[in-house]
């Protein structure tokens, strides 16, 4: 495809009818929670858009974010935008490697200076540059160099947005988020572990159509992160009526009652899972019977326990710290030792962990 083609021209040259394109715009508007009246606006803007250059940087990550988008089975519609952007650098996906790949990145930057988009997944280690490098370049240096000529940065995934699991206590690599290092460029955070595939493409469509979207206090697009999981959850009526599952196999769980008491973080988690859903719209964790972990929120890994309800004080870590301060570090070490010994004993005996065990360990 030629780079100077508009999106509309490119689609027609690929044999995609305008009717198909209108369908894409309708489902995209729905995905972005935009009113249907915006469908013609999206169609008109996208159709005239020139193919944008995108440089995708993967740092300290598990590749789950790239997997999320590339493993999406609903290929035609979601991949449409990825087929028409110019993905000039993605070291996991591209065939070139080493110096050839880096040359492609630099060429894309020079050709599109001031206009290209940088997508980042993964956190950035600041402890030792050697913790994560690409072609011998530290993540910190590559990020600083690449964002210089960028129009905007999209931080994909909780690691790039907030530090994520690499930043979890005790953060051995000194992991930080993109916004901890870059302060002079627009940054759109698209958190989630991983983010919903259609949300990733939806944010790109929104940026290309309307420019920088309206963001919340954590720089997340309000179109996707404007409402809590709880507000959009189909189990919300059970919560309102005080009907809760008390364990994973009780009558309440079987009847599909609210999972709040089993640790659901839906009330404090902002994401589109309840409407966009997962696995090609099949369901989302709560619909599958599991509480929301709150993966699109900062420090979700250190939130005090996945299976503790929000109303339970997240006291274990704090309380242990107080005990340690009061009784000396030895006492703290002893508490840690007891938990560790219990875990090891359970591993040796191949015991099943209970919800309480999981809460204590987390």
């Amino acid at each position: 495809m030629k780079k100077d083609q508009t999106l509309g021209e490119a689609l027609r040259s690929r044999g995609i009818s305008r009717r198909s394109f209108l369908k894409f715009c309708a489902t995209t508007a729905s995905m972005m929670a935009l009113p249907p009246s915006m469908i013609p606006v999206i169609a008109e803007t996208l159709e005239k858009m020139r193919r944008p250059s995108v440089i995708w940087l993967s740092f300290q990550e598990c590749t789950g974010c790239t997997e999320s988008i590339t493993r999406s089975n609903s290929a035609t519609i979601e991949d449409l935008i990825f087929n028409v952007i110019s993905l000039d650098y993605h070291h996991t996906l591209q065939a070139a490697s080493g110096e050839a790949a880096e040359a492609a990145r630099k060429a894309a930057m020079e050709e599109n200076w001031g206009k290209y988009l940088v997508v980042v997944d993964g956190s950035i280690p600041t402890g030792n540059p050697g913790f994560s490098t690409i072609a011998g370049i530290s993540n910190v240096d590559m990020l600083a160099e690449t964002v210089k000529g960028a129009a905007a940065i999209v931080a994909v995934g909780t690691c790039a947005s907030f530090g994520g699991i690499p930043k979890a206590d005790p953060n051995p690599t000194g992991a930080v988020s993109v916004s901890d290092l870059v302060t002079d460029k627009p940054i759109i955070n698209v958190p989630g572990c991983p983010p919903i595939p259609v949300v990733i493409t939806g944010v790109l469509v929104q940026f290309l159509t309307f420019g920088l979207p309206e963001l919340d206090s954590l720089s997340r697009p309000k179109a996707f992160y404007g409402q809590s999981i709880h507000d959009r959850c189909y189990r919300r009526p059970f919560y309102d009526k005080g009907l809760f599952a008390e364990s994973f196999d009780d009558e309440g769980a079987k009847k599909g009652w609210c999972l709040y008491k089993l640790g659901c973080k839906g009330p404090t988690t902002y994401n589109a899972c309840a409407t966009a859903k997962w696995n090609d719209g099949t369901s989302f964790p709560i619909e599958a019977g599991h509480p929301c972990l709150g993966c699109s929120e900062p420090d979700f890994w250190d939130g005090g326990g996945f299976y503790k309800s929000i109303s339970t004080p997240t006291g274990d870590i704090g309380r242990n710290a107080v005990y340690a301060a009061g009784a000396g570090l030895l006492a703290g070490a002893a508490i840690g030792g007891v938990l560790h010994a219990r875990k090891q004993a359970a591993v040796r005996k191949h015991q099943r962990a209970t919800i309480d065990d999981l809460g204590e360990e987390s």
Binding site: G8, R12, I16, S17, R18, R19, S20, L22, K23, F24, A26, T27, A29, S30, M31, A33, P35, P36, S37, I39, N73, S74, A75, T76, I77, L80, R232, C233, Y234, R236, P237, F238, K241, L243, K255, G256, A274, T275, K277, D280, G281, S283, E287
Partner: protein
């Protein structure tokens, strides 16, 4: 014909059997969104008749218990017109049992439901032929006719 009561909804006669967006079991605790949604459709239909203003409702953005959307589809029922589209996967455009109220359902290439809308209008835009596609069609016809002696 459908008979709609103030509180409970009773359906007699025609009823569509289509997969809902989510879940399939009967809701024991409904969200309560069904009746307000029918009111929105009723208001939109009146506005269209009085002022000619069309309206689209995106069903994906409205929380519903498993089974509730199925109930809505049953209440709306099947009308006189049904069209199948093959555009980036299949789509179904169907007039409901309430003329002027259309149900548009989009699937992707894998048959996965990707959008469902209720449209209040003469005919949903996606059914109309698009000028851009017609321009390509004209070019194709010109090419065909210029070589008609050998290709037709």
């Amino acid at each position: 014909m459908e008979k709609i009561e103030a509180v409970s909804i009773t359906v007699e006669g025609r009823g569509a059997s289509r997969a809902p967006v989510s879940g399939c079991s009967s809701p024991s605790v409904p969200t309560g969104n069904l009746i307000p949604l029918l009111h929105e459709i009723r208001h939109a239909l009146k506005r269209w008749l009085d002022e000619g203003q069309t309206h689209v409702i995106d069903l994906r953005t409205i929380p519903m218990s498993p089974g509730e959307e199925q109930r809505l589809l049953e209440v709306l029922g099947d009308g006189e017109v049904r069209a199948d589209l093959a555009a980036l996967g299949s789509s179904e455009v169907m007039e409901t049992a309430f003329p002027g109220v259309w149900l548009v359902t989009h699937h992707n290439d894998d048959g996965v439901l990707v959008g469902r809308f209720i449209e209040i209008c003469h005919i949903p835009d996606i059914l109309k032929s698009q000028a851009e596609d017609a321009a390509i069609a004209l070019q194709r016809l010109d090419d065909l006719l210029s070589n008609a002696e050998t290709t037709v």
